[in-house]
Symmetry: C2
Subunit: 341 residues, 2 copies
DNA sequence: CTGAAAGCGCTTACAG
DNA sequence: CTGAAAGCGCTTACAG
């Protein structure tokens, strides 16, 4: 039977429901013989605690919301996997919501959704929210931002150091003798602080190395999808500007699109144009050529985000939001080196 | 304030909580002026219903579990996206659990997990469960299987017709003049009925066309990952058996791995060896060459699965489990055709 | 159309 | 170590 309640178990074991509750939850010392009787009754009745009732009483649901733009974008699915795994290790369950990159939907999900009241905390990978959207919101539930930051928001934020990562990539390209670098993925500040930071690193490295930077080699992309990488690469090649000898894409998906365009035009990668991505999604270990990229420590990111969120949940103190940084490393593969195996 | 309850709203509006409940839920006719007063109070107090309490009372949580092996496998993340979207359209929220392809974990999640009691229904993409695992389980909650079937299980099952799809692929390869076809992805029956069905279709097409089939050209793969596709392709080329002029991989990820091996050896695709995958994940529209594949109607699959699950939830009648089929189509791309654009 | 009240299944001070 | 009882915040017959 699956409809048995604490009361039924208590009746069968001949004890009070208080005692059954203690046994089930492993609380308070219970006499061994009593425990045994209760456990037998639990077995016999196939008793399973009603998590809803428990949550209602405790004021905690044990559920977290993970809000991402699109679950089928590899970076997010890899992140979601890590988050779900970490959450489970900490006794939490994860509900995933998708915003489809729409600001209205994002706002609704996070700020207004009545359902939000059911979550103990929210992990948000924002894409379109601004501080203004947030200001009207008095968060009753802690929120931790993943990756993209919301300027001046009152939330904790976990990410890698985008400026240094981009600087590193750029310096690396210089170090292997490339001179005309293009960047694909710039975005206006309002919708893409992360993109801005990567552009900043790209610029800084040019300045440090005393290299000129042709502005026509910085190409914007509203979304970080493969098709946009293809479009941007075509624009770069057909735009009439200088032809780059290396391209830095702000994520791996853009690089995959750019790669396809180059190969279809008979451009050799890396001999003619070297290519670098960002994120180290599994996919780009298998492209031909395999892709040089920046690998953020996704596991650590998930760990840190959860640790911080749980801290906020337990203390219910939302003051002094912090920036937490996660390490990254440059992974060199065939798209920037001649020697293929 | 976010801590307001029905009672607070009722007090402020000067009505009973019953009336507030009616307004909030849009039940029963409420006098217009009363409604207005209540709505104002809801606004002023920023009242949000406690979903937990509602669920406890109603005996429904509004939550579904989606259990997949690995969320970061593109097929599953694309499926998850579709499922979450459909669930939301139907007023359900989705909790995702991952089994990591482990039978023990799968069993635990589905059959024993006390948490299961909180879900109104379960969507399961099984990978390792057998009917034996199920038999000890008296499902108190409806379960719908996605893709992989569990032989003799008492659950509804939504999938494409794998035998015909594989037959179609094979016939297509014959039709473009290929004669020695290899298949990558076969699995023993216990762990992979889907793989078996594809092998069956592959065989049937050979028989219909009166073509011989060299058994050495059927290569097994415990998991459908890129690295295994690479391993299998290498085995095929180095195994001493005949060299195929076409390879049918049982999913796109295997094909991606196989493609990488071929290209790294200077094998031309499709001139020397044609390549076909299965699933039509976004990734393979951007490989070079792009991949011919079978596209299951994932949206429809999600729709059907949810429709059926909700039916079971509403009727609580789990009898007469059915097989529901979703259409698929062969998408021809560069990996089987010379004319690239 | 609205109120007063029971009860969903649990947890947890409060006594003993 | 254990019991009797209140209450988490809601929904919903039952009256009126």
């Amino acid at each position: 039977m699956s409809g048995s309640r604490l009361r039924d178990v208590a009746a069968r074991a001949g004890v009070s429901i208080r005692t059954v509750s203690n046994v089930v939850n492993g609380y308070a010392p219970v006499a061994a013989t009593t425990r045994e009787r209760v456990e037998r009754a639990v077995q016999e009745l196939d008793y399973r605690p009603n998590v809803l009732a428990r949550s209602l009483k405790r004021g905690r649901s044990g559920m977290l919301a993970l809000v991402v733009p699109e679950l089928d974008v590899p970076y997010f699915s890899e992140l979601a996997r890590a988050i779900i795994t970490q959450a489970r290790l900490n006794g939490y369950t994860v509900v995933i919501d998708q915003t489809d990159g729409d600001a209205g939907r994002e706002r609704e999900l996070i700020l207004r959704s009545s359902r939000a009241a059911v979550f103990d905390g929210v992990l948000l990978s924002p894409v379109a929210l601004s501080a203004a959207d947030i200001s009207e919101h008095n968060p009753s539930v802690p929120i931790v931002l993943l990756g993209e930051r919301i300027a001046a928001s009152p939330f904790d934020h976990v990410a890698i150091d985008n400026v240094s990562a981009a600087r590193e990539v750029t310096e690396y390209l210089f170090s292997i003798g490339r001179r005309r670098l293009a960047a694909i993925g710039d975005q206006p500040y309002e919708t893409g602080e992360t993109a801005q930071l990567r552009t900043q690193g790209f610029r800084e490295a040019h300045i440090s190395a005393a290299r000129e930077l042709d502005e026509r080699l910085i190409v914007g992309c509203p979304h970080f999808h493969r098709s946009e990488g293809a479009r941007a690469m075509s624009a770069l090649l057909d735009g009439g500007g200088p032809t780059p000898d290396a391209v830095f894409c702000y994520n791996d998906l853009l690089a995959v699109g750019a790669l396809r365009v180059m190969l279809s035009r008979g451009i050799r990668v890396p001999e003619d144009i070297a290519l670098v991505g960002f994120d180290d999604i599994e996919e780009v270990r298998f492209t031909t050529p395999s892709l040089t990229t920046i690998a953020p420590d996704k596991t650590r990111l998930a760990e840190l985000a959860l640790q911080r969120l749980i801290l906020r949940i337990n203390t219910q103190d939302f003051s002094g939001p912090e920036e937490l940084f996660v390490s990254h490393r440059l992974i060199v593969r065939e798209s920037t080196t001649h020697g293929r195996q």
